[in-house]
Each structure stands twice: as structure tokens, then as C-alpha cells.
């Protein structure tokens, strides 16, 4: 069942900061939603294949030919911080 530690663990996996109040709220809300979701545990699905794709399609292959990509400056224009023609981020060790 969902408890505080589970929420904190999942939040870390999801790279999501949560305040103490938000953690508490999430415990209750996720628990409530999962209770409804767990009804599918009662179904007998032993012999059923999981859906992988809803319409039948073959492999979508294309020739492996180099194509032009978006210009670097256009892509970098949307970034919050740029340095040396690349995306700038804070140091992992700061």
C-alpha cells in the first residue's frame, strides 16, 4: 500500500520535488485512485495476450540516409541556458 516512504521513493524516480504537505496529500490521493484501479486484479487474465498495438501495422522502415536536422542555433534558442554551442546545466556536484 502507498505510504510516505513509497511516495518519496517514487517522487525521486520521477525527479519531482514535493513539499511535506504535498507528500501527505499524495499518499491519500494515490491510495484512493489505486484502490479503484486494483479491481482489475480480480479478473482472470491468465490466457490473455497483452495488447502491444491496437491496429495491425508492419514495421515502419525507411532508408538509412542522412538528412538535414534543425539548425543548431534554432534549437538552442529555446533553451533556458546555453554555453559553448550546447545546453548549459548546473554542476551535478555543486
Amino acid at each position: 500500500m502507498i505510504d510516505r516512504d513509497t511516495v518519496l521513493h517514487v517522487a525521486r524516480l520521477a525527479r519531482l520535488e514535493l513539499s511535506d504537505g504535498e507528500v501527505e496529500r499524495m499518499v491519500g490521493e494515490l491510495g484512493g485512485v489505486l484502490e479503484h484501479i486494483e479491481t482489475i486484479a480480480q479478473l482472470d487474465l491468465e490466457e490473455v495476450a497483452p495488447t502491444s498495438h491496437v491496429v495491425e501495422v508492419g514495421n515502419a522502415l525507411r532508408d538509412d540516409e542522412p538528412r538535414e536536422s534543425l539548425p543548431r542555433e534554432q534549437v538552442l534558442a529555446a533553451a533556458p541556458a546555453v554555453a559553448d554551442d550546447g545546453f548549459a546545466v548546473p554542476s551535478p556536484q555543486a
Binding site: 502507498i2 513509497t6 511516495v7 521513493h9 517514487v10 517522487a11 524516480l13 520521477a14 525527479r15 519531482l16 520535488e17 514535493l18 504535498e22 499524495m26 490521493e29 494515490l30 484512493g32 485512485v33 489505486l34 479503484h36 484501479i37 486494483e38 479491481t39 482489475i40 486484479a41 479478473l43 487474465l45 490473455v48 495476450a49 497483452p50 495488447t51 502491444s52 498495438h53 491496437v54 491496429v55 501495422v57 515502419a60 525507411r62 534543425l70 539548425p71 534554432q74 534549437v75 534558442a77 529555446a78 533553451a79 533556458p80 541556458a81 545546453f87 546545466v89 548546473p90 554542476s91 551535478p92 556536484q93 555543486a94
Partner: protein, 476 residues
């Protein structure tokens, strides 16, 4: 030309082609209306009409849900985390429609990343329902639906993951169609749940939906590996009776949990269908009651994966933080709204080590059973019919406290989404909400086999003519 607003999009396109209407004047008429939008339906409006050209859609302007990327034009998917983002490229479907003569009029408000059934989860604030501004327009394509209903756009496109075209269409009294999965390219649509997301038309009437959809489908898009060649063009609907049409009514989706007013309107429409010559019989979709649970595993799972790309590095909002991990975590906390955070958490949980089989694996098996149920129904019936939404438009704020109460709005629309089949909603009357008050629009939903869009539109057209729904009151 006066009366431009009274023309449907198809009529306007025809009037332009025959020289009776001027495309520049039409664009300006709608541009002015969109710019003065009293419903918070738009997030951005074009400032001038494109140069006129001879195209099949005549230049009838199009409102486009915010989540479609449009080069140089704000595209935020209703989220703060994409604040200020102007993509360097345009979604295939928007480009196809512009080439066919439906140029971009504006971008429309939506629930953040298309997660919601009320349009209240938007960084731009809620959209108001033109039938009653104290009520929600539905979601997530609420801006597109409200804009079309109120005559702030001739037509619009939105996306449907679990009902996000059909439900707001129902709540606003317009037509909305979710095509077969793969029929419309998803390239340039900011993804929510990739195995379910599908773009489609929101229009004043069935003929407009057919015309717009004709130019959305076609050859598969090399930029979307899941897109398919659509078999044949979408036909112009013309049926006036329903002789030979077999409609199946699933008991699981036409009883419990639906407002009495919605049920009465549904029963009256079934009676009308019989009068038009259709056979109407009950059918079974035994796994449909489990669709909502499966959907709320699969959609959050896919969303948690898709939304991993929003990390403050390449675009949009970044929170101040000293180190990289804190920057990621704070950016995602501050940039995502409450519902998106909840779904990212839910999706991450169901995919996390030790839980995958119990949730995701089982949900994908339930999905197979739901598709099998529909396949069995289509061996006896042309279409399965049910209400689109269990309720008429509810008051702003009414369902925000309980996430599952909001999710329950989707229980009639998610089964077709999980099966990947086409489904559409047409307005079939007005009904008072359970607490009394002004009557509000109700939607009638048809679901058909994959690629049955032309027949479905034809069937819907016959019903529409007989229903005679009049939405003019809210186009003021």
C-alpha cells in the same frame, strides 16, 4: 458580407469557392471575435490573414489546440513548464490543413498536457462553457470546443486520449470525432499517452467534421511510424435514413452512473433511430466496466515516460537551483500543475520495479479483452452507441477535490480509446443538470470498427438531420 457567422465551415468554404464570400473578410471576422474571446478559449490569436490561394478548404480559418507544435507560435500544451516555447517546426496535421486551405486562426486553451476532463488544469486558467459561464466546457480540448460552440472559430482540431475531443464536444453542444488510432499523424503533437493520443475535428456539424477529417487523414506520415495509409477518402455524408443500420446498445455503458437527463435524451435518440429505420438491440461489452481502471494505469504510465523530457534543459521553464538534481526536481515541481504531478507519480509507481506486472501488464491484458468485446459486437452491429459523457457540464470547481470523481467523467469514452477504434459525439438535445437549472447540451456517441469513419459520419448525419439540434443561442 453579413451573416458570415451563420455559415458552417463547409458552407463558408463553398461560398468562397463560388466567389460569394471573401476569405480575407471571413478570416478577419473570426480573428476579431477570437481576439475579443470572453471564454478564455484562446491562448494566442493570429494577427493577420495569410495570402489567399486556391485550396479545397477555401481559407476557412482553423483553431488549433495548444499542444500542436506550430513554428514560431507559442505551443505550451497548457503548461507552465513550456513557458515561452515557440517550436522550430509545425505538426504534420496542422501543416496538411494549412496546405488544404484551413490556415491557423489561433491556439486554444486545454487541460495541461491534455490531462483533465474540465479544462481547469490549465496554466492559462479555466475555459468557460458558452452555455453557462459558471460551468466547465469539458476537457481536455475545452478551448477548441468552446470556441466552435460560441462562434469564435469556424472549426477546430483537438486531441483525444480517453475522450478529450468527444466529451468537451458533448458538453458544448458540438460535433467531435476521434479517428482510428494511426489515421492522423501524431508528429508535432506534444505527447501525453502515445498509444492512445489521436487528433480529430471539433465542428459545428457532421458535414464540417467530414470535410475537415478528409484533409487530416491520407497517406501515412514518414515522421510518425505509427501512422497508417487511410483506406479511401472520407465521403461527404448524405444519408437521410438509417435503413439497414444495426445499432448495439451496451448495457454496461447505458445504465448506472449516468444522469437521468442524459439517459432520457439517449433513449429518445434511440427511438428516433428506430423511426429512421435502424435496428436497435442490446449488446454486451463485458469488460467495459474495467476500462477506466485499465486506462488510469496505461495513460499515466505512458505520460510519466513522455513527460520525462521536461527537465529544464532544452526548452521552457527552469527553476533556480545550485545542483543538477535539485534543478530537475524543482523545475518539474514548479513547472507541472497538480494533476500532471499526480499522474506522473501514478505512472511512475505502476511502472516501478515489482509493480509492473500487477498494474501495467494486467492493464494491457484488459485492453485486449476490451478490443475483443468490441470485435464481437461488430460482428452483429454496425455501431455501438452510448452517451458520450455521464453528465452535462458541471460547475467550475465541483470535481476538483476528488481526483477519481473527475476520472469517472471518462468511463463512457475510454473503452473506444483503449480499442483504438473511431468514435464520435453529436449533440442530441438538452438536459437539466440534477440540481436543476438551465438545460445544457448532451452528447450521443457512436463507436465503430477501425476505419469506419465515412459510414459513421453518414449515420451521424442522418441522425443530426432528424434531431435538428440548434446551437445558435450561444453564438453571440
Amino acid at each position: 458580407m453579413s451573416g458570415l457567422l451563420d455559415l458552417t465551415a463547409s458552407q463558408a468554404a463553398a461560398a468562397i469557392t463560388s466567389g460569394e464570400a471573401d476569405p480575407g473578410e471571413l478570416f478577419e471576422c473570426y480573428r476579431e471575435r477570437a481576439a475579443a474571446d470572453p471564454l478564455n478559449a484562446y491562448t494566442w490569436v493570429a494577427d493577420q490573414a495569410p495570402a489567399p490561394a486556391e485550396q479545397p478548404l477555401g481559407g476557412v480559418p482553423l483553431a488549433v489546440k495548444d499542444l500542436f507544435c506550430t513554428a514560431g507560435v507559442p505551443s505550451q500544451s497548457g503548461s507552465r513548464i513550456l513557458e515561452g516555447y515557440r517550436p522550430p517546426y509545425t505538426a504534420t496535421v496542422v501543416e496538411r490543413l494549412a496546405r488544404a486551405g484551413a490556415p491557423l486562426l489561433g491556439k486554444t486553451n486545454q487541460d495541461e498536457f491534455a490531462m483533465g476532463s474540465s479544462n481547469e488544469n490549465s496554466a492559462f486558467g479555466p475555459v468557460l462553457n458558452p452555455w453557462d459561464r459558471a460551468r466547465v466546457p469539458g476537457g481536455s480540448s475545452g478551448g477548441s470546443a468552446a470556441a466552435v460552440a460560441a462562434g469564435l472559430a469556424p472549426w477546430a482540431i483537438g486531441t483525444d486520449t480517453g475522450g478529450s475531443i468527444r466529451q468537451p464536444a458533448a458538453l458544448c453542444g458540438i460535433v467531435g470525432l476521434k479517428p482510428t488510432y494511426g489515421a492522423v499523424s501524431r508528429y508535432g503533437m506534444i505527447a501525453f499517452a502515445s498509444s492512445l493520443d489521436q487528433a480529430g475535428p471539433l465542428t459545428r456539424d457532421v458535414s464540417d467534421a467530414a470535410l475537415l477529417l478528409r484533409h487530416m487523414v491520407g497517406e501515412r506520415d514518414p515522421l510518425d511510424a505509427t501512422s497508417v495509409d487511410f483506406p479511401g477518402p472520407i465521403a461527404t455524408p448524405s444519408r437521410t435514413d438509417l435503413a439497414g443500420i444495426r445499432l448495439g446498445v451496451p448495457s454496461e455503458l447505458t445504465g448506472e452512473g449516468i444522469e437521468p437527463g442524459v439517459i432520457s435524451a439517449f433513449q429518445a435518440t434511440l427511438e428516433l433511430a428506430r423511426e429512421l429505420g435502424a435496428t436497435v438491440e442490446s449488446c454486451a461489452l463485458p469488460h467495459a466496466p474495467h476500462a477506466l481502471a485499465a486506462y488510469y494505469v496505461l495513460a499515466p504510465a505512458e505520460c510519466s515516460s513522455n513527460l520525462a523530457r521536461f527537465d529544464g534543459v532544452r526548452y521552457g521553464y527552469r527553476a533556480d537551483a545550485g545542483d543538477l538534481l535539485t534543478m530537475y526536481e524543482r523545475t518539474r515541481h514548479d513547472g507541472f500543475g497538480v494533476e500532471v504531478r499526480r499522474r506522473v507519480m501514478l505512472g511512475t509507481y505502476v511502472l516501478s520495479s515489482g509493480y509492473y506486472d500487477a498494474y501495467y501488464g494486467r492493464a494491457q491484458r484488459v485492453r485486449t479483452k476490451i478490443a475483443d468485446d468490441f470485435a464481437a459486437a461488430f460482428s452483429r452491429f454496425d455501431f455501438v452507441v452510448m452517451p458520450t459523457s455521464p453528465c452535462v457540464a458541471f460547475e467550475l470547481g465541483a470535481k476538483l477535490a476528488d481526483p477519481y470523481a473527475m476520472y469517472l467523467n471518462d468511463f463512457l469514452s475510454v473503452p473506444a480509446s483503449l480499442a483504438g477504434i473511431p468514435a464520435m459525439s453529436i449533440p442530441n438535445g438538452l438536459a437539466s443538470p440534477p440540481d436543476g437549472g438551465t438545460p445544457l447540451p448532451v452528447g450521443f456517441q457512436l463507436a465503430g470498427p477501425a476505419f469506419s469513419e465515412s459510414r459513421m459520419l453518414d449515420t451521424a448525419f442522418a441522425l443530426e438531420q432528424a434531431l435538428g439540434f440548434d446551437g445558435r443561442a450561444v453564438r453571440v
